[in-house]
């Protein structure tokens, strides 16, 4: 805050401008300014795009995982991508999921038809992982998107 006291030699009734005028910042939407032509875009004002909104439907139940490996290339999931995983979605046949199988975290496509449960890769070099009795399987969450920062 700048000095606020008046100089001692100020004459009564004479206003001397302060050397450092205190400034007051006002949020712009609270100040009505009518000068010149109204902006032609004013009627179209909208919220700026938000990537969270694009990728995340349910923030409370959404978690991120990073990908290591190339077995999901066919589904456009590459090494180093970050997956958006929503735990609130009930996993269904055909969805890409994060699964815990026998102590490992995997990303796979869930196959669930006619009593057969398997986790499929999206790369011909990786065979399907058949889930048999006695195996530990937890479908942790459904992958709803992915993103990557190129660090440019």
């Amino acid at each position: 805050m700048p000095e606020m006291s008046f100089p001692l030699d100020a004459q009564p009734g004479v206003f001397i401008p302060l050397s450092g005028v205190p400034r007051l910042a006002l949020p712009i939407d609270e100040v009505r300014v009518s000068a010149g032509f109204p902006s032609p875009a004013a009627d179209y004002a909208d919220n700026r795009l938000d990537i969270n909104e694009y990728l995340i439907r349910n923030p409370v139940s959404t978690f991120f995982f990073s990908v290591e490996g190339d077995s999901m290339q066919g589904a456009e999931i590459f090494d180093g991508d970050i997956l958006v995983v929503d735990k609130s979605i009930r996993p269904r046949h055909g969805q890409i999921v994060v699964a815990f199988v026998d102590g490992e975290r995997l990303v796979k496509r869930l196959y669930q038809r006619g009593g057969r449960v398997a986790l499929l890769a999206e790369n011909p070099n990786y065979p399907p992982l058949e889930i048999r009795d006695g195996m530990e399987l937890l479908i942790w969450g459904v992958v709803t998107g992915k993103f990557k920062n190129f660090g440019a």
């Binding site: 805050m1 978690f63 290591e68 490996g69 077995s71 735990k87």
Partner: protein
């Protein structure tokens, strides 16, 4: 009629650890307190092995190894984030919620009885499990004390195995029969001391406390215990505490990972504690009027020379400026520091906290001219640290190496709060 629910996460810290680590599925695990001192949380498997709560880790380390128990340092960043997620989900079940601790919340369920409270409790439990993979127990009753007791019943499976216990839906006779089987110490607000005194009066079960003469209890104990008895009888005396009042004191203290002998290192520790506390102070838009610094040696090692000392100063002008507080903190420390001792713990307390709007300027201190710019600087400091992580920007007084920092040797990654720490999934 009033109805409250107490929702409590089962083995919360241990469950958070297991959530992201598939290798731990059936592994007994424990979580240790600061400096990896004592067991503060146990998974179901560790409980089944008889690992007691609060036991010093070094005492059971050998035994734990034999049983294959895995120990974790407290990963507060993870637990806090998961706790906030739980609270967010619970908030969708009731507009009135009291966050009682990191893993417990009271919900006011009045007005939600249409589908039946028990069914509502099942819904709560199911949603937390589906959305977060965490198990909770729900206790429901016409008072907070009964909700807490119902939660105990749900957890110990004394009334069904659904993980939900609703006292409003079981008959009074059934409820009393249940109370006969529960020790009085399980009642909310009845600690070990009170339980012992009650026992000397012949009151050992919840049923006996329920039947006791409230008037007598008020005279022999306190109005608090009388209220507990009324609550046990279904009369709601305690409302939800929804707004946490601003703190009157902010403390920041830690035990060190290793003993500290040098004053310079203690100064760094004190400066860091002040930085953390001042940030909290600014977050509640307040100023501190006094500052205390204390140091002490390890009181659990009577064989080494002991020393402890605390000193408080009132500030000429209340402040939330890390630099001002640090200056005073270091000055205080220099006054109380004695060489030749191995210090085990240091701490600081900000006291006489007042809202910034009530600021009383000092009559004598040079004031006014720079305080506006200070605020801007501190705001910038806080926002940089919020963005780049705690301590990204700090006073040099805090030091760089921080050799005094607490021991957290078994810390799991901050899976949900740090990009570098998110869990990896295999695409193979």
């Amino acid at each position: 009629m009033a109805a409250f629910a107490l929702v409590d996460c089962n083995n919360f810290y241990a469950s958070c650890e297991k959530l992201f680590n598939p290798k731990l599925k059936n592994t007994p695990i424990v979580v240790l307190s600061n400096n990896d001192g004592c067991v503060v949380a146990r998974s179901a498997e560790a409980k089944a092995l008889g690992i007691p709560m609060g036991v010093p880790w070094f005492k059971i380390q050998q035994e734990a190894k034999r049983h294959g128990i895995v120990a974790f340092s407290s990963n507060y960043a993870l637990y806090a984030d998961m706790s906030n997620r739980v609270v967010e989900i619970l908030s969708s079940f009731s507009p009135n919620i009291e966050v009682y601790s990191i893993d417990e919340s009271f919900l006011d369920l009045s007005g939600f009885e249409r589908s039946g409270y028990h069914a509502y409790g099942i819904d709560i439990r199911q949603r937390v499990a589906d959305w977060l993979g965490l198990a909770v127990c729900v206790g429901i009753g016409p008072s907070k004390t009964l909700a807490k007791l119902a939660n105990h019943c749900a957890k110990k499976k004394l009334a069904g195995e659904t993980g939900v216990c609703d006292f409003t839906s079981i008959s009074p006779a059934e409820r009393l029969a249940l109370f006969e089987r529960i020790e009085v110490g399980e009642v909310w607000g009845v600690g070990r001391k009170i339980a012992a005194r009650l026992a000397s009066m012949g009151i050992t079960t919840v049923r006996q406390l329920h039947d006791a003469d409230a008037e007598t209890l008020r005279c022999r104990f306190s109005v608090v215990l009388e209220r507990t008895v009324r609550e046990l009888r279904g009369v709601s005396c305690l409302d939800l505490v929804e707004v946490i009042p601003d703190k009157q004191q902010i403390m920041s203290s830690r035990s060190f990972g290793t003993l500290i002998y040098e004053r310079a290192e203690l100064e760094e520790a004190v400066a860091s504690y002040i930085a953390r506390a001042a940030e909290k102070l600014r977050a509640q838009d307040a100023l501190a009027g006094a500052l205390q610094v204390y140091i002490r040696t390890n009181i659990f090692k009577p064989e080494v020379p002991q020393y402890q000392r605390a000193m408080t100063i009132p500030l000429t002008e209340a402040s939330a400026d890390t630099r001002v507080l640090t200056q005073w903190g270091v000055r205080l420390l220099r006054r109380i520091y004695r060489p030749g001792y191995g210090y085990h713990k240091a701490g600081i307390t900000l006291m006489e906290i007042v809202p910034r709007t009530n600021q009383q300027f000092s009559l004598f201190a040079p004031t006014g001219q720079v305080s506006g710019r200070n605020d801007t600087l501190m705001t910038t400091l806080d926002s940089i640290n919020r963005k780049y992580g705690r301590g990204a920007l700090r006073l040099a007084a805090e030091g760089v190496t921080k050799s005094w920092q607490m021991r957290r040797e078994n810390l799991s990654p901050r899976y949900t709060t740090e990009w570098e720490s998110i869990a990896r999934v295999w695409a193979r």
